[in-house]
Each structure stands twice: as C-alpha cells, then as structure tokens.
C-alpha cells in the first residue's frame, strides 16, 4: 500500500534524538476525565474476557452433570463472586453504551446529502439491545 513511502525510507538512518521528546508518565490517563473514560472503556474488555471464561466454566459444569452444575451454582453465590460479577456488569454496560454511541461517529449516515443527528443513528442499536435482551430472557425463563 505505502510502497513509495517505504522505498523512500530505505536510505534513511533511523535516529531518535531523545532530548526532543517530552516525557509522558505511565499515569497520563489519570489527569483528565476524557482520558480516564478512554482507559475505563478499554479496561471493560478485561471483564468481557472474564465473562467468557465464566461462561465456559458454566458450559463445562452443564456438560459434567447435575452435581457439577449445582456445585458451580454454589460457587456463583459466593459474595466475592457476586461483587465481581456486579462490577463486570457495570463495566460491560459502560462498554455497550460507549459502543452504541460511537457508531454515529464511526459511520455517519447521510440522507439526501444531510448528516442524520447522532441520536437518530444510535437509536436502532438501543432498540436492538432491548429486543435481543427480551428474547434471551423469554427463552431462558419460559
């Protein structure tokens, strides 16, 4: 893709004058709410992975029979696990909201040459969220 640029760079000796670089602290994201929000959003992915691992354990217990499943449910009632899952839930809802609200910026929708308002582009995602959640509840609880 950038062949011209790469070829042009071949004769270039990489030289990085350190003294021109401002030092950025490892905690650069703590200072401002926008940066903190960004990092919290990125960290939500850890809870996404934790949820998947938990679900894999649940499927494994389900496969191993009623006793194994009952034991797994007992583990889920541990107050520490409950707290962890509530924190996970909050992070993942944060992911959902930031994800849906990002869509209008990532792919602006134009109708008759005019950009639709962000809220209107994000709205279908929220509607889909409600419908899908309702369907899962119905299937599991019926």
């Amino acid at each position: 893709m950038n062949e011209g640029a790469t070829k042009g760079a071949e004769g270039y000796t990489p030289f990085h004058p350190r003294w021109y670089r401002p030092h950025v602290s490892v905690y650069w994201w703590l200072g401002e709410w926008h940066y903190l929000k960004f990092i919290l959003r990125e960290i939500s992915s850890v809870f996404v992975a934790a949820f998947v691992i938990e679900t894999l354990f649940m499927l494994s217990a389900l496969r191993n029979g009623p006793e194994a499943y009952a034991h797994f449910q007992q583990c889920l009632r541990n107050p520490l696990v409950i707290v962890l899952n509530v924190v996970s839930f909050l992070f993942i809802v944060f992911h959902t909201i930031t994800w849906f609200n990002l869509a209008p910026s990532a792919m602006p929708v134009r109708v008759a040459g005019k950009r639709l308002p962000d809220a209107l582009v994000a709205a279908p995602s929220y509607v889909a969220w409600i419908i899908v959640s309702g369907f899962v509840c119905w299937l599991v609880l019926r």
């Binding site: 996404v48 894999l56 889920l76 996970s88 995602s125 969220w129 609880l141």
Partner: protein, 116 residues
C-alpha cells in the same frame, strides 16, 4: 506486530466482537451470574438448560457469544498495554498472548459445545 494489511482483519474481529459483547453480554451476565445466584429470579432447571444448550441454533449462539468477544478483548487489551501502560517493547509477546488466548478460548468453546 502484524503487517498493516492484517490490521483490518483483526479490527473486523474486534468490531464484530464489540457488537456481540454490547448486545448479548449484559443480559447473559445479569441473568446467569447475578439474578439467578441472588435468587431474584427463578433459575431454570438443569434439564431445561441442558436441552436448550443442545439445540443447534443455541450452540451456534453460545459459540459466537464466547468466541467473538474474546477477539474483541484481544485487540483492546493489546492496545491498552501498548498505549496505556506503554509496554511497546513487548509487542510480539503481547500479540501472541492476546490472540493465542482468544484462539484457545474459541477452541475450548467449540469442544464444549460439540461435546455437551
């Protein structure tokens, strides 16, 4: 890190996983890991859940629920480590650990859902 041409592929997986995580994980997590353990709602019986998990469409659903969000995690976590904690010198190792983890989780999910 991968060549720039591979980045689009990983970004697609990240994006698809982000959609799946946003739509499905809140309700799944709330029901199975909060509402049922706290007895806010009557948990379904073991037999019903097993019969549900053995339906072909539900198997595909659970596979997607487990696999794609892991690739979402791999991408995001990788960049969090690169940018957030500024550990750019371990790029190759982080890449292998993140995507290796996602591939392993996918394989485990495939096995469990096939054998359930």
């Amino acid at each position: 890190m991968a060549k720039p041409s591979n980045e689009a592929f990983f970004w697609m997986l990240f994006s698809a996983g982000g959609v799946v995580a946003a739509l499905l994980i809140p309700v799944q997590l709330f029901l199975f890991f909060i509402a049922f353990p706290l007895r806010w709602l009557q948990a379904p019986s073991y037999d019903y859940l097993l019969s549900l998990a053995r339906m072909p469409l539900v198997r595909i659903y659970l596979f997607v629920l487990c696999s794609l969000p892991l690739f979402h995690w791999a991408h995001r976590f990788r960049y969090t480590l690169y940018d957030g904690l500024k550990v750019k010198h371990l790029t190759g190792l982080i890449f292998v650990l993140c995507y290796g983890g996602a591939v392993m989780g996918t394989a485990i999910a495939a096995y469990l859902l096939w054998a359930i």
